[in-house]
């Protein structure tokens, strides 16, 4: 059975772009997450920040820098590459593997805070948890994200969220950071024009 043709073909939609966080907002949000980490971890003792490439890495470094400004503690920062743990490896052309770089003290027995830019389906974090268990045994694992856009496909939640952005599935959240893209910004693409 065929569907009847639409009476009025919908006009081509204008791709809309909305700035959710500007540079000053990003910096305030990072400051707040840094304060929250200090509060929730009683001064960030025994804590390690692990950034998930690409943009989780500069975020982790910024958080560590802010934490040391606020409380004068040095939090080790590392990089956790999750490429080989992804569940969609076979759906794409082979992905290049990036470096995993753990801080000198390692992660065994530490409180690890995973840092990423956007929390969406939760699959990246699932992969990160698997990768983490292969490189060591942390005492506990927490998750910090700049943006939570919803639409989880796995039972995963963040401990520290910079900004909750309610989105439609068709929309796209793009985070840019000065270190990787030249500017600090969070934009929402493809939303219905306001």
């Amino acid at each position: 059975m065929a569907y009847p043709p639409a009476a009025h073909p919908s006009p081509p939609r204008q791709p809309s772009v909305k700035v959710i966080l500007a540079a000053a907002d990003v910096s305030r949000v990072v400051d707040r997450i840094a304060h929250q980490i200090l509060e929730k971890t009683q001064g960030a003792a025994g804590t390690v920040l692990l950034g998930i490439p690409t943009r989780g890495v500069p975020l982790a470094h910024r958080l560590a820098a802010r934490i040391s400004t606020f409380e004068d503690v040095t939090v080790p920062v590392g990089v956790l590459d999750i490429t080989l743990y992804r569940d969609d490896l076979r759906r794409h052309a082979t992905r290049a593997v990036g470096p995993t770089d753990l801080p000198p003290g390692g992660i065994d027995g530490k409180r690890v805070v995973l840092v990423d830019d956007v929390l969406f389906s939760g699959r990246t974090v699932r992969a990160a948890l698997d990768a983490l268990s292969d490189v060591g045994r942390p005492a506990s694992v927490q998750l910090a994200v700049l943006v939570d856009r919803g639409h989880r496909q796995l039972p995963i939640r963040a401990d520290y969220v910079g900004k909750n952005i309610p989105t439609a599935l068709a929309e796209n959240v793009k985070v840019t950071l000065a270190e990787t893209d030249g500017t600090d910004e969070v934009k929402l693409y493809g939303g219905t024009p306001a």
Binding site: L84, Y85, L89, T94, R95, V97
Partner: protein
């Protein structure tokens, strides 16, 4: 990414560098508590070996297992090959068993190329006759890069039986692609006429080992294949060792940073003396360890994604 790895010439500079960079990441797995990655879970790698080999087969097996692939070892001895099965029929059997990759070593030059036409999976050449051995060239390049920090502009001497050496051919192709300069050294009977021009323009040939030693960054000794000695390519083993063997006095004429490499297995006292083989310049044991990392990188890049 390419689908098969049959020749050192299959890799352009970008792809070869990607393999070496990936291998560097794979090498970190060897130092971890859990020496395993899930990237090739559920994939099947068949080691199809028509020639005896210890290090290459074990190296590929370890590489595939560290990436969580299932490994099937198939050696010609004691298999249906001994009953006269052709390469094509064997290939179709492997195909029917669902091999995602076939790692093949064969005494006939070009066998992996034929195999690649018959199977759907990826084919990796693990040495074919006197033709090529691309993963050996990759692990040699990886070893040079990790010891000396670069490949571009290096001067590499490959010394010995170039005529029968698949290691030499693949190395000339790959090293030239990556910007190194290669000089082939050996007795005239063991260096084919025009080989330099045929493989890679810019490659030199020299029949005097002592003349090139002071000027090289790497000297790679090839195994003298005792099984071919009956063909009188040179008068005697002692004469060969005198003129083309690397001993202590010759090693001391190398520049201070220069490396000594050997693909193994060595004939100690023939092409290389124990003093040289066990010296700090020698990378021979390192090459074996690097072989696993490089083969992990190759298997991951060929099989890890959907490249069809």
């Amino acid at each position: 990414m390419i689908r098969h790895l049959l020749s050192g010439a299959d890799l352009d500079a970008g792809t070869a560098t990607l393999v070496l960079d990936t291998a560097a990441e794979m090498a970190t797995v060897a130092g971890r508590e859990v020496k395993k990655l899930p990237a090739l879970r559920g994939r099947t790698v068949v080691n199809l070996f028509y020639e005896d080999s210890t290090r290459t087969r074990i190296s590929f097996e370890a590489a595939a297992k560290r990436l969580s692939a299932d490994v099937i070892n198939f050696s010609a001895k004691g298999s249906s090959v001994a009953k006269g099965e052709s390469l094509k029929d064997t290939a179709l059997t492997l195909q029917a068993m669902g091999a995602d990759a076939v790692v093949v070593r064969h005494p006939a030059s070009g066998a992996p190329h034929r195999l690649a036409e018959w199977v759907d999976g990826s084919v990796v050449n693990a040495g074919d006759g006197t033709h090529e051995h691309p993963t050996q060239a990759l692990l040699d390049a990886y070893t040079m890069r990790s010891r000396l920090g670069r490949l571009d502009g290096l001067h590499v001497a490959i010394v010995g039986d170039v005529l029968h050496s698949r290691v030499a051919r693949s190395n000339v192709l790959l090293l030239s692609t990556l910007g190194a300069k290669v000089t082939l050294v050996g007795p005239p009977t063991l260096i084919p006429v025009d080989i330099a021009a045929a493989l890679a323009p810019g490659t030199d040939v020299c029949y005097d080992l002592d003349a090139v030693l002071p000027d090289v960054d790497v000297v790679m000794m090839l195994r003298v294949q005792r099984e071919r000695m009956g063909d009188s390519y040179f008068p005697s083993a002692r004469e060969y060792a005198r003129r083309y063997g690397l001993d202590g006095p010759r090693m001391r004429r190398l520049p201070g940073h220069a490396l000594v490499m050997h693909p193994g297995p060595m004939n100690r006292g023939m092409e290389i003396t124990p003093e040289v083989a066990d010296s700090p310049r020698s990378t021979i044991v390192e090459q074996v360890a690097n072989g696993v990392s490089v083969r992990m990188a190759v298997l991951y890049l060929l099989l890890g994604g959907n490249n069809r």
